[in-house]
């Protein structure tokens, strides 16, 4: 029983974790992309469609990542090249993504999907309890752990990470030092798109292997909240994502046990929890001000 609960926590947490770690990198570079939900849903539909047509889960995942990148490129062009308002453009990306995914996905409603296989890590997967929970997952779950490790290391232990954070904290100085602020931000935005696309693929290829319209159900927005929750630190994103995974599972199991609580109330728990967490974090000024990228959301036009 406990094993089963942990397994569902991991499946619920993985898409949030991947999308949030991508957005964390974007925000560390000083860009606020509110279009995570739109990139994620495009990843979900394109991933499902590609896997369905080619019969290959790997190709599905790749296609989803490309879809996320394409959406992010659109956002990057408007926000970084044309200096459009970041908040409004992010919203536009979400609205467009939801619309486009509905149009593309119409042919795939009710079509049986393809579920990513579980990969058994030899040796480790035989360990009792830990084995089935941690080492008998699908590829995307392993990738999510890998992503966190790579992002955490790159941000704080490499030159690239230092430059990225410099661009996010003070784009004027970074520009004066000769770094191309726009190019670095564009790459960060594309990375965020790739992550969001991958997170979408997880939803339609592993979480519920089918296409349902609006299947992201606000997860992109929750991922954005997780970045705030983490106060822009990668390891805290893991904590946040798994906490939310747990809330989600609480909801599922409570519905199965049939407590005398309306199901709609349980379904609203993740959203209410998000609000609560945001309030608790933002009320603590010290925590938020230390790590918030100082140039977050501010436009940059290089003067030549």
């Amino acid at each position: 029983m406990f094993e089963a609960v942990l397994l569902t926590v991991i499946t619920a947490a993985t898409p949030l974790l991947i999308a949030a770690i991508g957005e964390l990198v974007v925000e560390r570079s000083g860009v606020l992309n509110l279009g995570v939900e739109g990139m994620m849903i495009m990843g979900a539909v394109v991933g499902f469609a590609a896997a369905n047509m080619t019969g290959s889960g790997t190709l599905g995942i790749l296609a989803a990542i490309l879809a996320g990148i394409a959406m992010a490129a659109l956002f990057g062009f408007l926000v970084l090249i044309l200096v459009a308002n970041q908040v409004a453009t992010g919203l536009a990306l979400t609205i467009l993504g939801i619309g486009f995914s509905g149009l593309i996905g119409e042919a795939f409603i009710g079509v049986p999907g393809l579920k990513l296989p579980q990969l058994y890590i030899p040796g480790l997967s035989d360990i009792p309890f830990i084995g089935p929970v941690l080492f008998q997952q699908d590829a995307i779950v392993y990738i999510s752990f890998l992503l966190v490790a790579i992002v955490a290391y790159t941000l704080f232990r490499t030159r690239l990470g230092l430059v990225l954070r410099a661009v996010g904290d003070n784009h004027g100085s970074a520009h004066a030092l000769g770094y191309s602020v726009i190019r670095i931000r564009f790459l960060a935005v594309l990375f965020g798109g790739a992550c969001a696309g991958l997170a979408g693929a997880y939803l339609s290829l592993a979480y519920t292997p089918q296409w349902v319209e609006n299947m992201t159900a606000g997860r992109g927005w929750i991922a954005l909240a997780l970045v705030v929750f983490s106060s822009w630190l990668p390891l805290r994103v893991v904590v946040g994502a798994y906490l939310f995974g747990a809330v989600n599972v609480l909801n599922l199991h409570a519905q199965a046990v049939e407590f005398d609580i309306p199901s709609q109330f349980l379904s609203s728990l993740p959203y209410l929890a998000t609000i609560l967490v945001l309030v608790l974090i933002s009320a603590n000024r010290r925590l938020t001000l230390v790590n918030t990228p100082a140039c977050l959301g501010k436009p940059f036009v290089p003067d030549r």
Partner: protein, 362 residues
Amino acid sequence: MRVELIKRKEQSRKMALLSPLIAIGLTALSAAIIFAISGHNPLLGLYKFFIEPLTQQWSLEATIDKATPLVLIACGLSVCYLSNNWNIGAEGQFIVGALFGSVLPIMFPDFETSATLPLMLVFGAVGGALWALIPAVLKTRFNTNEILTSLMLVYVASLILDYLVRGPWRDPGGYNFPESRLFSDAATLPDIFGGAMSLSTPITFLVAIILAIMLGKTMKGFEIRVMGESPRAGSFAGFSARRLTLFAFALAGALAGLAGTMEVSGALNQLLPTISPGYGFTAIIVAFLGRLNPIGIIVAGFVLALSYIGGEAVQSSLGVSNKIASVIQGLLLFYVLACDTLILYKIRIVSRRASSGEVSHV
């Protein structure tokens, strides 16, 4: 090739008027491409989508019906966006307003007086305002990001609506369908001009005019614009950012709630599990296309409403999915935001070979 932006000395008035038109043109071009890709004659598609609904009386009336809630919600949102308050939860405020407005006709169906309808409208506005004040208070009190909280409340609001119409508010004589009882005549918003339009349309028109005067001619309007463009200058003038946040959210919520009540009272006549085809989100596009100006918003609301009707038209006549409407709406917002760059900047395309010689100005 490189794109360079050169800041204009002042905002270009010509471009401020032209940019929404360019955006609409580009959207139509994109729509034609989508029609062509899905194997239809692009010109016929464009005609069916954008022109034909304007040629028949019934579709023109349907367009005005759809434009009404969009304009009303977008008017409120424009006050939020002008003052830098990012309320994106109008959809939730619309729903909660509709719920508050439905309290009288559903829980007290025998209360049928001439005061019923005005009371419902007041309830609706209050409900929407209260719902909108949640993210506003969290922002002013705890510094919580209003974008995320206002959006999360949309999901909560639609779950509350779902619970009520399937639970306590389900019509006792309705064969277990998830819908409320029908509103009595006293609780129904009347049609005017011989049924050509609902009373909600002139009410919305009036609100837009009042708002245009408020924004353009009064101190409050000045305060809103100053605080949006330069909060520091505003605070020297003695304006309070906190009070303005509460005001902007409450106003936007009240108008969205009013729109919600008028929609259930005038168009649906009962509560259903879904009462809006995303008006609260489409209104964001309307607000930007209308350049955050109530008069512009009236025009923009009509354009966006046309996209709903056009979507249904191409579905029934050409067999194109009506999902194309939401794609076109999304593209339109993109183009609007991209074209707005032209107001503040000159765009210069520099070719890589000769960065000083061959330049073309736009």
